[in-house]
Each structure stands twice: as structure tokens, then as C-alpha cells.
Amino acid sequence: MALLPPRSSNLSHSYLVRPDVRFTTQHADEEVILVVRKHPVTQLSWIVNGVILLTLLLLVNAIVPEILKANQIIAINIFGLFFIFSYIWINFLLWYFTVGVISNERIIDLDFYNLIYKEFSATTIRQVSDITTKIGGFFGSILNFGDVFVKTEGFEQNIEFNDIPRPSAVVKIINLLMKDTNSARDEG
């Protein structure tokens, strides 16, 4: 196997090399090389919303004590906190489980759009015909994140990793794996 990077992960766990993970339909001899998630900067919207909601709850606490009774205020606070926690928790889980997985055999795109809808796309490294990266925008250029498009031969599944960190490094790893696969095929 070509020289792939050693086990590592970044602070936000959005770019994990050789992580200790397993996914559904993983083969016995299949090794996970890379797991990517969306860059944390792209998740700022729900984080900011959570902070705003918490601030609103504090404001409500400053306004309503004169109108409502103490037990009602406590209840409103408990309900407000639970609502905000649920909002943050759902968004965190959707970010955490929406991953791109690159193994020594396949490229897998696992998307959770909401709580009850998921999409699982996979293609073998052998079927990959073209890889494109797209880095755009102010934050994308500064923080080095963007999209990776993996095209396959014929009408097979095309795979997209959106807003992932270090797209060029991801392409480099896929290229190394393709090279390995092709040399193994030639030898075979």
C-alpha cells in the first residue's frame, strides 16, 4: 500500500485519519483510512441560534417576573432550556453522523438530512474515474475547506463531500488509493 498519512485527528474531529470507527456494511478486511465531516465553521448558524435563544430566555427572565408567579417562571425556564438543548442536540447529531468515509476499498457518503431521513451512497475505489475539488468563498479560502466531487464510470453513483476540511489532502489520499488499486489489478 502507498504511503498514507499516519493516524491523526484535528481538534474539531472533522478530519480523521485512520480513526477507530466502524460503519454498516463494512467488510471484514476493509480498513477505514479517512473520515471527514463538515468544517465546524459551517455549523456556526445553529450554534449562534442556540446562543441567541439562551439570551432570549435570559431576557424573558428579566421581563416576566412581574407578570407571572415563581413556579410558572421556573417551569418556563425548564421548558425553554429543554427546547434549546433539543435544538442544539439534533443539530450536533446531524453534523456528527453526516460523514464521508474513505476506506481501502470504497468511498462512502453518509448523509443525515433530518432525524428520520438518511442517504447512504458508496462506490468502490476501482470505479472512480474523476475527482474534482472546489474551494470557494472567503471562509473557504482562509480556513481551507471546500467540496470534493467523486465521479464514477458510467451511470454509477457519484459522491459529494461538501464543506470538508483540507479537500486537496482528501483528493491526494483518494489518488494514492486509486494508484494502489490499479497496481494491484495490473499485478493480478
Binding site: 460503519f23 413556579n71 410558572q72 425548564i78 421548558f79 429543554f82 432525524l115 438518511k118
Partner: protein, 80 residues
């Protein structure tokens, strides 16, 4: 049954605003329970699809929400 109805209509919820808040709280608490059950189940499915070292922690937090939902129902029925 009579006791249950009196529980909902008495305590400190004598005024209209209080009654409105209580009704809303009970409704929201039961919705939260429904959400917590779905959430817990979905977290399990997510963990089965893609499992990491954090899987057990995530499942536990999602399951805890069901207990929190129970607490919310009690709060809605008795505290308000």
C-alpha cells in the same frame, strides 16, 4: 379521573394566564416525550450505521432525554 381533572384545574392555575401556561406545558411535555423516544431510537440507528468511541455516550444522552421528558410531564402537572 375526577382527581386527575381537579389536579389540572386547581393548584396555582386559577387565573386564565396560569391555566393557559399549564395547558401549554402539559401539551409541550408530551410532545417532548414523543420527540425523546424518536430521538433515542434514531441515535441508536445512527450508531448502528456509523459507530465510534463516542457511540455509548451519545446513546446515553439521547436516552436520558426520555427521563427528562418524564420530569417535564411531572413539572407540567404538579409545579405549574
Amino acid at each position: 379521573m375526577q382527581n386527575f381533572i381537579s389536579l389540572l384545574t386547581t393548584s396555582s392555575s386559577d387565573d386564565f394566564v396560569g391555566l393557559f401556561i399549564k395547558a401549554f406545558a402539559v401539551f409541550f411535555a408530551f410532545l417532548y416525550l414523543l420527540y425523546a423516544v424518536v430521538m433515542s431510537r434514531q441515535t441508536q440507528i445512527m450508531n448502528d450505521t456509523f459507530s465510534t468511541k463516542m457511540s455509548s455516550i451519545l446513546s446515553t444522552i439521547s436516552f436520558l432525554q426520555i427521563i427528562f421528558a418524564g420530569i417535564l410531564i411531572l413539572v407540567a402537572l404538579f409545579l405549574i
